[in-house]
């Protein structure tokens, strides 16, 4: 059940981010200054932590989505869906360990230093 709850929550979060993200990227068509001003807010440390949460949501939704496909089409996966979910969690941890330090170092390196 928790796999399903998390799939819904991450899906909703990603959907709302997507709505905003298409709009902020559309500013590229307005002017360089408008785009840089808005994209600059994504480099703020609070947003940086938000981006880790976003990537975490995307990675969970992606891996669990692939698990759902396997469970649907492959009877072995249907029987082992619970173990596969732990595989999803493991893969998610590996992804986050690869992404989080690199991203936060980049985000926090700029504090006080300017650009």
């Amino acid at each position: 059940m928790w796999s399903w709850v998390l799939h819904r929550i991450t899906g909703i979060a990603i959907f709302f981010f997507l709505l905003v993200h298409v709009l902020d990227t559309a500013l590229i068509r307005v002017s360089p200054e408008a785009y840089n001003a808005v994209i600059g807010t994504y480099k703020n440390p609070i947003m940086g932590i938000g981006e880790v949460a976003l990537v975490g949501a995307v990675a969970y939704h992606a891996y669990n989505g692939l698990r759902i496909i396997l469970v649907d089409v492959w009877s072995w996966a249907t029987r082992h869906q619970r173990q596969l979910w732990w595989g999803v969690i493991g893969l998610w941890l590996v992804t986050m360990l690869a992404f989080t330090p690199r991203h936060l170092m980049s985000v926090f390196a700029e504090i006080g230093g300017g650009h």
Partner: protein
Amino acid sequence: MSTAAIADPRAPRTAPRRKGPNLEKWGWIYMRASGVLLVILIFGHLFVNLMLGEGIHGLDFAFVAGKFASPFWQWWDVLMLWLALIHGANGMRTIVNDYVTHDGTRRILVWALWLSAGFLILLGTLVVFTFDPCQGVIESGVMWETCQAQ
């Protein structure tokens, strides 16, 4: 909460609908097919934009202008836009159908989902294919020199 929608357990079985395409089945297939493609497209998007080079600090107008100068990234982004918004709107439709019991409210919300997805697909596609780096430059702006040289 309405209980009238749930049939009596001993009610005679109603024949399945036969006419027309089974849209729910196609929706089910779409979620899986687009999902697999989106994993590739979004992981590629995140890796190139956040992990390579300077990471998030490399993201600015020049970075995106450089990507949109290549048809490869134009099509990558447009494909991602269409697949993701339809996948997201259809997923949200499933959630609305599950939790919104008032039929009028449910219809309005589902309609609003497709309207916003449609609007953003149109906007995003136009932005990607009509992008011109010298559009909207101002004399005091960062792109003025470059654009005067053309």
